[in-house]
Assembly symmetry: C2
Homo-oligomer: 213 residues x 2
């Protein structure tokens, strides 16, 4: 694993209007409804970026200043152990949000590095603006509470799985729950997410192929 590459600086896209503000507005509409004026206020706060595969939007040790919404593409969040090994904490695809929640909430340096695993198009909302939104449009307090709630649910589910399932069972669960990730993330990242080595994941896959799925 090449540190220079992981820590490569983000390339900003040339400024230009986002074709796809619709997607993020729909995402929000799932939980709260906004007036046209509130929509304008909100979208005016967003910053658009184009990411190339392997671009990093947050490095371990930095304070997370943005919530990131994925308009298109795929990212992963991971920590790097002392031995240099990578541990994938979460993936995020089109129409998902990602951030180092710990760092974003506490504004302390975080452990997560967030990196694109495919060319991606994202929208950033700064913590500052998020707090401003809470004041000007209190409904957003509800929206972000729901986001955090969903993260928590996913995190707890995963903990339960890690404590109670074997590696193969976890892999099957993963395939069922996130088939789209399976298609776009490299297997070694999935192995890391499952808490096993790529070699062992290979073994599992062979075993399962033998069983004719």
């Amino acid at each position: 694993m090449n540190v220079d590459q992981i820590y490569r600086v983000v390339k900003l896209s040339p400024e230009r209007p986002m074709k796809n503000l619709e997607l993020i507005l729909q995402n929000i509409a799932k939980h709260i409804s906004l007036t046209e004026e509130e929509k304008r206020l909100f979208t005016g706060m967003l910053e658009a970026r184009h990411l190339k595969k392997k671009d990093v939007i947050l490095k371990q040790g930095e304070v997370c200043k943005y919530s990131t919404f994925i308009v298109d593409g795929a990212l992963k969040g991971f920590t790097v152990g002392k031995d240099g090994s990578e541990h994938v904490i979460n993936f995020a695809l089109k129409d998902w949000w990602i951030a180092d929640m710990y760092s974003l909430i506490s504004q302390q340096p975080g452990m997560l590095t967030i990196e694109a695993i495919a060319d991606s198009e994202v929208l950033l909302l700064s913590k500052q603006d998020q707090l401003l939104l809470y004041e000007k449009v209190p409904k957003f307090e509800r929206f972000f509470r729901i986001l955090v709630e969903n993260s928590l649910v996913a995190s707890q589910q995963r903990l339960i799985n890690n404590l109670s399932l074997t590696a193969e069972e976890r892999y099957r669960f993963f395939m069922k729950k996130y088939p789209f990730i399976l298609e776009c993330a490299p297997l070694h990242s999935i192995a890391s997410y499952l808490g096993i080595t790529p070699e062992f994941l290979s073994k599992i896959r062979r075993r399962m192929a033998g069983k004719l799925k």
Copy 2:
């Protein structure tokens, strides 16, 4: 493990005023400040219960209808696998909140059982009243968002530990972070929380004693 015992019915305490509403008000004051009237509204919603060791306040498969605040004592939340094995998801001590967040949020049947591991005194706030609070005192939306955020941070931290540390390292981390739990929870529950068997925890403890801590 005896299922009848785990599912023993909760014993309600005789109704009487809580000596210790102060503790919960202080707990809330850490994040939002309330007027006297708001305090009265809030405390009027609380339901006090005395739990004896092994009393269960929520069983697997039920919908979680309450957030529980611990005035004194200690509880644990756990799931039971198909094989009957118990997986401790979290502990909660004096001045902490506990609930099956998934179930409380979604109002779907949950996987968690919540049980007292010592005689305890708790205060219950129903989901209904919680929603009512959101309407009447919107500050509470913030308070519960912060609670959920803290849960999420703890859950993520634990996930990272489970993926990147050995059992011994996790145990050391636990000892440092939750020394009080070590004092009041049985070792087999701690083993379960760490994701190992009690036998293996024993082995670790002996090994560590050998190393003179």
